[in-house]
């Protein structure tokens, strides 16, 4: 390290003249070879990726709304798996782009690229127009799970609705970790990236295979119970302009489609009787709505009181804690992080100062994150107390993944 500084000083004073061993004057007229430094993947190809995504989304929208063909959708699923999955190695995907966006808002030194903005925006915009068409075909993580669904079991609605809250928690935490510069947890624990790349750490491969095995019976578990981008798409899709419909004209309530959906995303008709039963329970709605601010406060308080624990995921905070709580570790020559820190010109004060700044950011961020989780829990409670009159079977706009399986079960002709 001291030599490196010396070298730096030497170079800055008088280019290469003061090297330890100056480059010799060769009598033979020797010319040194060029160092090969291959260029990264060109920007033009990145823009082609955006165009491919756009094409996938447009064609899928047309397929689910006009053409109404599961066969074609399946073809696109395979194409997406090959292109975005195995060819592009699953990076960058819209799911991870959430973190890039969060980092770009919090870190002025990080300018997000146009490609990432496009990857973040396009699926959300399309979901406002046509539902979750991105989940239907273009997503490589969804595609690989979609192809392994063999014998899907029905998950009880209460269980799947409750588990469906986890993506929002995951989203909130991922944004917290990304915006504090701690890391991109969604990418770190992407279960299928190891399969796309044909190689990864052991635990990631195990996780990926576990998800695929579970996915044979519980259809697309990552999409429904984990995916943080799916949480965003769920919300936008609820208010979409157009959406896939099971029947091409009028539902005759034959129930044929109700078992075709492996995701439990088809809403049954709600008879008048159920409405009148709920009539007396308007109090519940008021109660839950009033509880939302309390839940937000509670969530913010709960998470902020554990902000120290959360912030330990940041390497600087971790190192500062390690050195303060356990000074004996400084003698541990095996600990690379500690030895590198001691060998560097960084002082303990500056490390502690940086760690405190990160913890302060975590304190602010965890209040917001906790309040958001509280809000989600509150809205979930409120939604449980709302019942709507519905005739016929319809896909649930939030949960429907636009896979088109239900289409061929409907006996009604146009």
């Amino acid at each position: 390290m001291p030599f490196l500084l010396l070298l730096l000083i030497a170079l800055s004073v008088d280019s290469t003249a003061q090297q330890r061993f100056p480059m010799p004057e060769f009598e033979s007229g020797y010319q040194h070879p060029e160092v090969s430094a291959p260029e990264p993947r060109s920007l033009a190809l990145e823009y082609i990726d955006v165009l491919v995504l756009l094409a996938f989304l447009s064609v899928t929208s047309w397929l689910v709304i006009r053409k109404r063909s599961r066969k074609w959708i399946l073809g696109l699923v395979v194409a997406a798996l090959l292109y975005f999955g195995f060819w592009r190695n699953g990076c960058i995907c819209p799911i991870g782009s959430v973190q890039n966006m969060a980092l770009s808002f919090s870190d002025p030194g990080y300018a997000v690229s146009y490609t990432v903005i496009a990857f973040f925006m396009l699926p959300l915009l399309f979901s406002l127009g046509f539902g979750r068409v991105f989940c239907g075909t273009a997503c490589p993580l969804g595609a690989i799970q979609d192809l392994v669904i063999i014998r899907p079991v029905k998950v009880p609605a209460r269980v799947s609705k409750s588990l469906g809250m986890f993506p929002f928690v995951y989203l909130a935490l991922a944004v917290l970790y990304a915006s504090t510069g701690t890391g991109f947890v969604i990418c770190r624990y992407d279960p299928f990236i190891g399969i796309f790349r044909m190689g990864a750490e052991f635990h990631l491969i195990v996780l990926g295979i576990a998800f695929l095995l579970a996915g044979m019976f519980v259809a697309r578990p990552y999409c429904r119970f984990v995916c943080p981008y799916g949480a965003l798409l769920k919300v936008t899709s609820m208010f979409s302009k157009h959406h896939i419909s099971i029947t091409p004209s009028q539902c005759i309530e034959c129930k044929l489609c109700s078992d075709s959906c492996p995701f439990g995303a088809i809403d049954r008709p709600v008879p008048e009787r159920a409405i009148s039963e709920m009539k007396g329970k308007t109090g519940h709605f008021m109660l839950y709505a009033a509880v939302i601010p309390l839940l937000m406060m509670a969530g913010g308080w709960a998470l902020s009181s554990s902000h120290i624990f959360l912030s330990r995921a940041h390497p600087d905070v971790y190192l500062a804690h390690l050195l303060i709580d356990n000074p004996g570790v400084m003698d541990d020559t095996e600990n690379l992080d500690v030895q590198t820190f001691l060998g560097s010109d960084r002082t303990m004060e500056s490390l502690v100062h940086d760690a405190e700044a990160i913890q302060a950011a975590f304190l602010r961020g965890s209040w917001i994150t906790g309040a958001f989780i509280g809000l989600v829990a509150g809205l979930f409670l409120v939604s449980q107390s709302i019942i709507r009159r519905r005739t016929g079977y319809h896909p649930n706009r939030g949960d429907c993944l636009s896979c088109g399986r239900c289409l061929k079960y409907c006996p009604v002709q146009k």
Binding site: L8, M23, P24, Y30, P38, S113, I117, C187, E201
Partner: protein, 190 residues
Amino acid sequence: MERKKTKNRREFIRSSMRFGMVLALGGAGGLAFRHSAGDKWVWQVDPFKCSWCGRCATHCVLSPSAVKCMHAYDLCGYCDLCGGYLIPGHSARSTAAENQLCPTAAIERKFIEEPYYQYTINEDLCIGCAKCVEGCSAFGNGSLHLQVNHEICVNCNECAIARSCPSDAVKRVRGSAPYLMKGDFSRDQT
């Protein structure tokens, strides 16, 4: 009549929510766009921060690692006794395998003229372990240094090496200037 009214109300809520979300999305996108770049980010090792800990070889998602040793020929002293090529305190002055630092024999030594030798890295064999970088920096000019080879790197959204690097040497650089090569890079610094 009653039913139609609720339908209209629902439709109104839905379309106004949709409108609000388009606005929110547009706002977020616009804000991100304002300080965005028409360039992409790639990962690179800053050789002046690198502490040759060896994690580049073990923590890359690829095997072997996308981090390779690269040689700044214009910084090299072309020594016979190369600190990056031979293990320190080697018993005999021979270039036999037991006297070489590189575990994969990726450094090729070629005689130029008395007493100078050229050292070339065979990147197909290099695993990015930085053993030669340590030797070259300790006893020589530090012309051997680690760089991410962008032909191999899959450019993960979050680099696993960057996360584990103890000296914070792996960072995002612009795709238009994807290398921090020692020769050129040190000249740029002055």
